[in-house]
């Protein structure tokens, strides 16, 4: 009998869990929400903190921004767990578009990747000019290199460089951090190692690193951000209207202007270049 009463008490408690959870949810969840899956650099650079409030004010939507590596961001959208994707890995994106999981891929903006490393530049990549040549020299000297190792947009591009150089990076000099760009820069800094970074995150770390920019300006280091809509067939709970509204917003002229002006005040230069009216072929 006593055990029975205790079990009843447990069930009552479990019911209260739900009641409380629903109460909190009711208090917090606005009527119209949409989930944006995006990469860490748009969040870490502070760009979304500027753009999302403008979008919310214009449309009345409440945006849930989930910032993860590009690989995961795309996977979430393909499973129908996000309503719109803003990411930066063209090769990977095109695969999802070809499969029909994501639709209407549109360019939003670009900046560039840079290879940073210790001032002494032990592998001598400064004179390499081409990124592929630079990674060849790094591997040739077995100079320490920190990789994101997380299938993020940066990591995808890095893997392309190794592939084009015909090298499979292996050995104690090749360090996979498995973390975001900020943490990876910090690790490279502590280990006096080379790493590939997007420019926005590197600029955000100005004054906190001893690493210097050793290679930039190669066409292979273009960093292109695109927005994609989610195929409504990916799941039953996708907010297609809201997701498409956000995609439209990202390429609208006023938003593109805001992207151009972002970061000028703090860093003395734009972190991203608007690209909605450009064609991909022109960028490469």
């Amino acid at each position: 009998m006593k055990a029975l009463r205790c079990v009843a008490l447990l069930f009552l408690s479990a019911f209260m869990v739900f009641a409380l959870a629903l109460r909190v949810r009711g208090a917090k969840a606005p009527a119209k929400t949409l989930i944006l899956s995006t990469t860490t650099s748009t969040q870490d650079s502070g760009l979304l903190d500027v753009l999302v409030p403008i979008f919310e004010k214009q449309t009345g939507y409440s945006v849930k921004t989930v910032s993860v590596g590009t690989g995961q961001a795309l996977a979430l959208a393909a499973k129908g767990d996000a309503d719109v994707a803003l990411v930066h890995a063209p090769e990977l994106e095109k695969q999802y578009v070809t499969q029909g999981k994501l639709l209407n891929r549109r360019l939003v903006m670009y900046n560039d990747f840079i290879i940073v490393g210790p001032k002494e530049d032990p592998a001598g990549i400064k004179s390499a000019v081409k990124a592929v040549e630079a990674v060849k020299r790094i591997a040739g000297r077995s100079a320490p290199f920190v990789s994101r190792g997380d299938n993020s947009g940066t990591n995808v591009l890095e893997k392309t460089l190794w592939k084009r150089a015909g090298i499979e990076p292996k050995g104690s000099w090749y360090i996979e951090s498995g973390q975001g760009m900020g943490s990876t820069l910090s690790i490279a800094n502590e280990k006096n190692a080379y790493t590939l970074s997007d420019r926005a995150t590197y600029l955000a770390f100005t004054g906190k690193l001893n690493l210097v920019v050793l290679l930039e300006g190669d066409g292979a280091l273009f960093n292109i951000y695109s927005v994609m809509e989610v195929n409504p067939a990916n799941g039953s709970r996708i907010n297609t209207v809201g997701g498409n509204a956000f995609a439209d917003f990202m390429v609208a002229p006023a938003t593109q202007e805001a992207i151009k002006n972002f970061g000028v005040e703090k860093f003395g230069r734009s972190l991203f270049v608007p690209a909605a009216r450009m064609r991909e072929a022109d960028l490469n």
Binding site: K2, A3, C6, V7, L9, L10, S13, A14, M16, V17, L20, A21, L22, V24, R25, K28, A29, I35, T40, Q43, D44, G46, D49, S62, K64, T65, V66, S67, K79, G80, D81, Q179, G180, M181, G182, S183, L185, S186, A204, F205, K208, G235, S236, R237, I238
Partner: protein, 237 residues
Amino acid sequence: MRLIWNGIVTAFALVFGGDAEVWSITGLSIEISGLATIVSLLLGMPLGILLAMSRFPGRGLAVALVNTGMGLPPVVVGLFVSIFLWRSGPLGFLDLIYSPAAMIIAQVIIAFPIVAGLTLTSFQTLNPNLGLQLVGIGASKPQVLWLLCKEARLPLLAALMAGFGGVISEVGASMMVGGNIRGQTRVLTTATVLEAGKGNFDLAIALGLILLALSFTINFVLTHIQQRERIRWPKPS
């Protein structure tokens, strides 16, 4: 060292300068972890008492499960709760992913085995005959339960502190099921990770210090309640 000093200065500036965002992040941390702790007590205490006071087949297994649950890694909890709550998951229709409610669910799963396990041990440290003695002097069953709880109140408060301490300081599950969304699910721990990732180390230190101060204040109050009585020794003559 200058970095830590800057962090301390930033922490004071944020708290006493009335930074609205930091206050709301702190408030949300207390709300989520507080509710999760209360729910964990409601679930964990009856379970602990049941396991301590009854004997049934499978009890040994249940105790082992509770003891394992006391060390559940928050990221594993976060992963499984995410899988269930994703829109594509079995509980997706509830629309709970990336909400404070999802974080409460994950934190309850982390904290309730801690509460249950410590309740179990605290009841087992009581004199096994105490219940019978109380019945002998005419106490009813609910009265016995109440008196036993009173008798075990010191370790029960320790269970409360351990449960709350476990969830307020937890980051893995909150990050995965909450998504660290600004103004909605950003709590002190996830904000600390974010600011460190952005390279704002002084702000990260400041948030960490606020978390420590919060944890200290709550534990100080609870410890004060717990330690009101001391073991009395005979007065020296």
